[in-house]
């Protein structure tokens, strides 16, 4: 495993932030290509390697402070690639590609720059909780630094030119990761989808298959990148997120007042189940932990601290679980490991509560 990923605190964005009862993280990314080179779709192998070499060098030349770590993804262990995907350092496409490609990231993992993903460059910033404006400002700063060293492909008509027409213009994709267990429980998704449609935003489940994401964690992001300013994009996502946060909180409150007993029962059952479980899949774990996360935030259970809860949720993902065990494992073994990890953490938290 890469030293940079081992034995260190999880990314800063995972340690919470404003309004993190609902908003887990805020992210902003910019897509850029270098003028004078073809896009990766039409670049031969040797060209792809030349682009990586150039961008790699310029990222190092740019002298980011604190300095970024750079890795060639085509030279590292596939297991580390999966870790990076779970940590939101790289996109799944970037992990699965077979191009000469790289990643630069900051120590606290709040900034990462993907080299030769779909575009020559994709830089992103990710912060904990609701910090959209902060994330957007930060990624624009990074863009300005790199622009001193790299001539971007840009046109006065269409803005920053990207391989895919859906990214052209600002090249900006701004998103929030939100935890929406109460909206999902109410089975009334209409309001949620309407908010997103009204503001032309995309809504998708973050984990698992289909529209109903595991752990009730969703990503909301802008569809439109052309004919709109960076501030407008960020503003739209922010406005919609505020509405969604209010909606989720309202339903949580009414769940607590109207169905408090039922909710208590479900929380109790889930806790008991997790205390005794011998094997559990990633999806099951995410769904149960999602309920516990809401219960914790509503003050209905106090066995778990808020930050520990999020760490538990995150460490239940397949690749991260294996880092705890320090080895690779098949899915049967993983399900056992996951169950034991959750059991152990619930127990240690209980002990802590008793001590205090």
């Amino acid at each position: 495993m890469l030293e940079a990923l081992k034995n260190k605190k999880l990314g800063r964005w995972l340690q919470g932030g404003p309004q993190d009862d609902v908003v887990l993280s805020s992210r902003s990314r910019l897509a850029r290509n270098i003028a004078g080179y073809p896009f990766l779709t039409r670049a031969g192998k040797s060209q792809v390697a030349r682009i990586e070499e150039l961008v790699h060098k310029k990222i190092l030349d740019a002298g980011f402070k604190p300095p970024l770590q750079y890795y060639r993804l085509d030279r590292i262990d596939p297991f580390d690639l999966r870790l990076m995907v779970e940590r939101h350092l790289i996109a799944r496409n970037h992990a699965d590609s077979d191009l000469v490609r790289g990643i630069a990231f900051s120590e606290d993992e709040s900034l990462s720059i993907m080299v030769n993903e779909e575009d020559h460059l994709r830089m992103q910033t990710i912060y904990g909780g609701m910090q959209l404006a902060e994330a957007a400002d930060a990624v624009i700063k990074v863009d300005n630094i790199l622009a001193e060293h790299l001539p971007y492909a840009f046109s006065a008509d269409y803005g920053y030119l990207t391989a895919c027409p859906t990214n052209v213009g600002t090249g900006m994709r701004t998103s929030v990761m939100v935890h929406l267990p109460a909206i999902m429980m109410s089975r009334d998704m209409d309001k949620l989808t309407r908010i997103c449609e009204d503001m032309n935003l995309a809504l998708r489940g973050l984990y698992g298959e289909g529209t109903h994401g595991a752990a009730d964690i969703y990503q909301i992001s802008n569809n439109v990148t052309l004919g709109i300013t960076e501030q407008e994009i960020t503003g739209h996502v922010e406005t919609a997120t505020k509405l969604i946060v209010d909606l989720e909180r309202d339903i949580r409150d009414s769940l607590k007042t109207k169905h408090g007993k039922e909710l208590d029962k479900r929380l109790g059952k889930t806790l008991e189940l997790l205390h005794n479980i011998k094997s559990i899949s990633s999806e099951e774990a995410l769904n149960m932990l999602s309920l516990l996360r809401m219960g914790t935030r509503l003050g209905l259970i106090n066995e778990l601290t808020e930050s520990k809860m999020d760490e538990l949720l995150f460490m239940s993902l397949p690749a991260h679980l294996q880092t705890i065990a320090r080895r690779e494992a098949d899915s049967v073994k993983r399900n056992e490991m996951r169950a034991s990890y959750i059991r152990k953490n619930l127990k240690s938290l209980e002990n802590k509560n008793e001590e205090t």
Binding site: G36, R42, K45, D157, G169, L226
Partner: protein
């Protein structure tokens, strides 16, 4: 969709060169004539299939193709149909080459066909003409004034002045 061709592949010197692309060596275009096998081995685009799906796509995009024309990009070798099939551009030049069809396509995707966002600073500026930059900033300025965002308007005015002055400097040299 193979093109008529003469000559042999520059890579293997054996098969007929069917693909004519422009390779970029250190940012400078160099013409290349290679066979399908070598092109695929280079990791190029797979050749177009003649499936029903393709025929259907061509039907749908026929009006766009009429506007864009059937010419291939002299830099990356892509034509409009290939672009629409993969929905990926091959190089920056395609945006100019297919412009007549793109304005409408972008209206469909983005509800707009003109950039109003940021403009590159620093070295990246060299890719844009000063005149275009000032025009763009003026557009942004008009928008800011319309929205009564005077703080942004003042910021843009300063930026316009900066750009104009820096261009005077560069003309002098």
């Amino acid at each position: 969709m193979s093109e008529e061709s003469e000559g042999v592949c520059q890579e293997c010197g054996r098969d007929k060169a069917k693909i004519h692309i422009t390779d970029f060596i250190d940012g400078k275009p160099v013409k290349k004539h290679i066979c399908q096998k070598c092109y695929d081995a280079e990791g190029g685009m797979p050749s177009l299939s003649s499936s029903d799906l393709f025929a259907k796509l061509v039907g749908i995009i026929a009006p766009e193709v009429k506007k864009a024309g059937r010419q291939k990009c002299s830099d990356c070798g892509i034509d409009y149909i290939e672009f629409r099939q993969s929905f990926k551009f091959g190089c920056a030049k395609d945006y100019v080459l297919f412009k007549d069809a793109l304005d409408e396509l972008f209206e469909d995707i983005h509800g707009a066909s003109h950039h109003t966002g940021r403009v590159p600073e620093g070295k990246a500026q060299s890719a844009t003409g000063t005149k275009q930059r000032v025009e763009m900033l003026n557009r942004e300025l008009a928008k800011a004034v319309e929205k009564e965002d005077f703080e942004r308007a003042a910021q843009l005015k300063r930026k316009i002045k900066q750009v104009e002055q820096s261009s005077v400097g560069s003309i002098k040299k």
